[in-house]
């Protein structure tokens, strides 16, 4: 029997029998599957071993080491590329997402700054890198799953690099809604609402948050929230 005939037979049988088996795949999530987008990025950027499904922690850590070496050399393009590869190899550790985004948003634009350049140009560089960092964190939300730390980092970038308190407030609100979110995310959301000239919304928000703050938890700063509610009540009444 010719091998060509066997090849054809194999293909035909696989098509006939393989397609019904595909219907089973949708229910077969024994663990969280890596998105195809992440697999493609890892494979395309040269991480075939991780695509083979093993030793992702080690490969991502080695890649992170190379990222830091590139960062020390102030090689912006290589640093940005290696950050993307690191998170594509292993999306699980938050440290790669957070520190990668901080490098992109705060360090890389500084390397490109020219003190003689116009302010508009410097701001456009800052904005471009801030957007790149935000895209990385949004990818983090998709691949790693929603996490308060990712939203807080996005909020910080909006606030400190982009001067956009409205977008920062939105991100702090999202962070506050995540399980295990630090209490300060909700407090800062309230503060930003107030700074944006929306004291009624801030008051309503802090009143909503207050019952969830434990009195015995020093990090919850319940007394601070209570004082802020009183101040906001006076502010709203005076209007």
């Amino acid at each position: 029997m010719s091998s060509r005939l066997i090849l054809l037979l194999t293909a035909a049988t696989l098509f006939a029998a393989g397609f019904p088996l595909r219907s089973l795949e949708h229910g077969l999530t024994i663990s969280r599957l890596r998105p195809a987008e992440q697999m493609a990025e890892a494979a395309g950027r040269g991480g075939p071993l991780a695509v083979l499904g093993g030793m992702r922690s080690l490969l991502a850590s080695l890649c992170w080491l190379r990222t830091n070496l590139a960062w020390e050399r102030r090689d912006a393009a290589t640093t940005a590329g290696l950050i993307e590869l690191t998170v594509a190899l292993d999306e699980r550790p938050l440290t790669f997402w957070l520190n990668g985004a901080r490098m992109l948003a705060y360090d890389l634009p500084e390397w490109r700054q020219d003190p003689l350049a116009p302010v508009a140009w410097r701001m456009s560089v800052n904005e471009a890198y801030a957007q790149q960092a935000l895209r990385l964190l949004e990818k983090g939300v998709r691949w790693h799953g929603p996490d308060a730390a990712l939203y807080i980092e996005m909020a910080n970038i909006h606030l400190r690099r982009r001067n956009d308190p409205a977008a920062a407030a939105r991100c702090y609100r999202l962070a506050a809604g995540q399980p295990g979110a630090p209490p300060y995310a909700a407090r800062i959301h309230g503060e930003l609402l107030r700074a944006l000239g929306r004291p009624e919304a801030a008051l309503a928000w802090l009143r909503q948050v207050l019952p969830g703050l434990r009195a015995d938890d020093p990090l919850a700063r319940r007394e601070v929230v209570l004082a802020r509610i009183q101040a906001l009540e006076q502010e709203v009444a005076a209007r």
């Binding site: 029997m1 393989g18 089973l24």
Partner: protein
């Protein structure tokens, strides 16, 4: 070819069992098996040195991820190389011809070989899994036994699929080198299957088994055993592909000329 004197499923299963036992014994005496097992065990232990390069998760997660990765990679090599070597050594040594002149059907020979390699891979997975579990316990890292056993078992399913893919190539290929290389390439295809997507030019690749579904490392990281229905569905999925690949191999081998 002489037709078997004893017929019936029981007799066939007995003959398959005999061939599988013989294959297992042969595999355990192979230097290749011992070498890969040693390399796999060594890789697991090397995680102790390599953890200095871990910047992501905790030590426990790193050791488990690296150890299961070592099991997956070395097991995949063993599945492709041992399957091809055992298949072609029995043809080259004349053992296959002697067996086939006796009341053994060709499909029984093929399934016997496959079952023997499955048993080798099960022993290999259990051994490396025990080494890894011992290492984790020694480092004082708590191991959830059911989840760990489930992760190793899921990896064994993947390795056995690689063996079945290699067997399909063996059934008509002319050399062990070609068969094992092609087996590894087919395994790579299984790992890259998620890239095929729901639509597009690579859509047809979705007929191939998706190895992402057998990610033991991710299962261990998740820290909980999946529901019984999901595990059953995984088994059905695996069994479906083993049946397809095995039967295709048996069909091709039936028409093979010696």
């Amino acid at each position: 070819m002489t037709e078997p004197t004893r017929t019936g499923m029981g007799a066939s299963l007995r003959r398959i069992g005999l061939i599988a036992r013989h294959t297992l014994r042969e595999a355990l005496h192979l230097r290749l098996t011992r070498l890969i097992a040693l390399a796999g065990g060594g890789l697991v232990f090397s995680a102790l040195e390599l953890r200095e390069f871990n910047f992501g998760g905790s030590e426990g997660k790193f050791l488990a991820d690296f150890g299961l990765g070592a099991l997956g990679l070395s097991g995949m090599l063993l599945a492709a190389l041992a399957m091809a070597h055992l298949f072609f050594s029995s043809i080259a040594g004349g053992a296959a011809c002697i067996l086939l002149t006796r009341p053994v059907r060709r499909w029984e020979f093929v399934w016997g070989k496959l079952a023997g390699v499955f048993a080798v891979l099960a022993l290999f997975s259990a051994a490396i899994g025990l080494v890894l579990a011992g290492l984790l316990v020694w480092r004082g890292i708590p191991v959830a036994t059911p989840v760990f056993a489930c992760a190793v078992a899921v990896l064994w399913l993947k390795l056995s699929l690689v063996a079945a893919m290699t067997l399909l190539v063996c059934s008509y290929a002319g050399s062990a080198l070609f068969a094992s290389s092609a087996g590894l390439l087919l395994a790579l295809l299984g790992h890259l299957r998620p890239l095929a997507g729901e639509s597009g030019r690579l859509h047809w690749l979705r007929v191939w088994p998706d190895f992402e579904l057998f990610d033991g490392g991710a299962l261990l990281a998740a820290g909980q055993v999946p529901p019984a229905a999901t595990l059953l569905a995984v088994m059905v999925y695996w069994a479906g592909y083993v049946m397809i690949l095995g039967q295709l191999a048996a069909y091709a081998f039936k028409r093979r000329e010696f």
